[in-house]
Point group: C2
Chain length 269, copies 2
């Protein structure tokens, strides 16, 4: 059996082009179903919380990051233990009593009628009560150009299979953490999970992402108090609106030697 953490697999496909039709070996991007199960050793036992469709790399980081983004945990102390099933399809978390799991699950149910799909981003932003970020961090445009180019050159998986998104945590000196996933959200959660596991501070850093900056991506970054988000792609209107309110700088279309700044431009020198 192959290693379940492989993010690609070989498969025979039929290639049709002007030379005709032939069988070929092709590299396919793997999609993995990861179920997160939660226990608190007391009231909640092996409760299936969510199934995430992901690239099967950095499963621990993804699990931890997802719980952080989803407000199930707020610090590494909330995790008492975690374990991954042999085939990688399940990650079990035993949370410490500090995490108040039963209470958190209950309050989530109240807010969202039992399903988090019901929370719209405006309510979310209000519930969040984030103080407007007043970080004085400033970055040179030249630095952003360098980071964006560096980011592009290490997106190797993307180049080989054409199907993944990449995200990176960086500071002005370079890229610190780089993650890829078939989902934009997962790639960022993997970063936050790794930072929580390794005790890396994120609120003085920047996030780079290959994908569009939607309201959900912006909120994920806002919740971690990150002052600057950079993409090679476009932000949506709602992401810009939220960034205005939350005090976050959005840089989009950072390609080659150009970029667009959509909010709080004073941070880009």
């Amino acid at each position: 059996m192959s290693n379940y953490r492989e993010t690609t697999e070989n498969r025979t496909i039929i290639r049709i082009d002007s030379d005709g039709r032939k069988e070929e070996n092709d590299l396919i991007i793997r999609e993995h179903a990861l179920t997160i199960t939660l226990s608190d050793g007391k009231f909640v036992k092996d409760r299936r919380y969510v199934t995430i469709f992901c690239s099967p790399s950095d499963i621990e980081q993804l699990g931890v990051g997802f719980l952080l983004s989803d407000d199930i945990i707020s610090s590494i102390e909330d995790i008492y233990d975690m374990s991954i099933s042999d085939d990688g399809s399940e990650i079990k978390f035993l949370l410490s009593s500090n995490a108040n799991l039963a209470e958190t699950l209950m309050s989530k149910r109240d807010i969202t009628s039992g399903c988090s799909r019901n929370l719209n981003p405006y309510e979310f932003l209000q519930n969040l009560k984030i103080d407007k970020l007043s970080s004085n961090i400033k970055v040179k445009a030249e630095t952003i150009i360098q980071l964006s180019n560096q980011f592009q050159s290490i997106s190797s998986l993307y180049k080989s299979t054409g199907g993944t998104h990449a995200s990176a945590l960086c500071d002005p000196d370079g890229i610190l953490i780089f993650k890829e996933d078939i989902g934009r959200h997962n790639a960022i959660d993997k970063i936050f999970g790794e930072c929580l596991l390794k005790g890396i501070k994120v609120e003085d850093k920047m996030i780079l992402t290959s994908g569009r900056i939607s309201s959900e991506i912006l909120l994920k970054v806002a919740k971690r108090y990150i002052p600057i988000i950079i993409s090679r792609s476009a932000p949506t209107s709602m992401a810009i609106e939220f960034a205005d309110q939350a005090g976050i700088t959005i840089v989009g279309f950072a390609r080659g030697r150009r970029m667009n700044v959509y909010s709080h431009e004073y941070r880009i020198e």
Copy 2:
């Protein structure tokens, strides 16, 4: 007030390039929060079902298509009435008693522990009990090349803002319906919604999509018994696996004069 159905808006941004830094007017892709509310005139009253982040075009089609994909309705007769709020943020459905809304919501809760996020695709495929598609439809490779090129040339919104996905319903003679959205899933739901509203049969047609074919996209198409799905991008391993089982032909990387066929190649001549 501008028309809420506009999919783009103008905004002043700061553009930085080798010529320096200047204010510019830019076209931003709009992201819209659409809440679907359900009633059955009896047991369920104005129940908030979901909030979808979408491009605000084809809101009716999106609402109807979402309910179809989510198994809340199965035919147009299930919808007794629908109305959209003045600002387009809410679409209300009054379902007919045939739709058994209360029962459907209850059974969804049972299957998914109150949250559809808990259903993994393997269970989903089992629950679905779709007969393996035995459609004898065949399509010439040349036709796929033409459709893919036509699809590319009408993806106009994509060209102007770089942030949307497109999907189309087509038959061998050309593209019948074309929809765009910031979400891959939404673009396909808009197509299915329009087909339901207009009484257009889909099970003898093909779906074209600009984005990656993930398991969720594949299942959405499988539930409508569509025999062929074509993308300019890559399918994931899980999508190919499901397509093998469900009898669906996946064509990927359909660009220029080439394509890859990942499953049930006999339909491509």
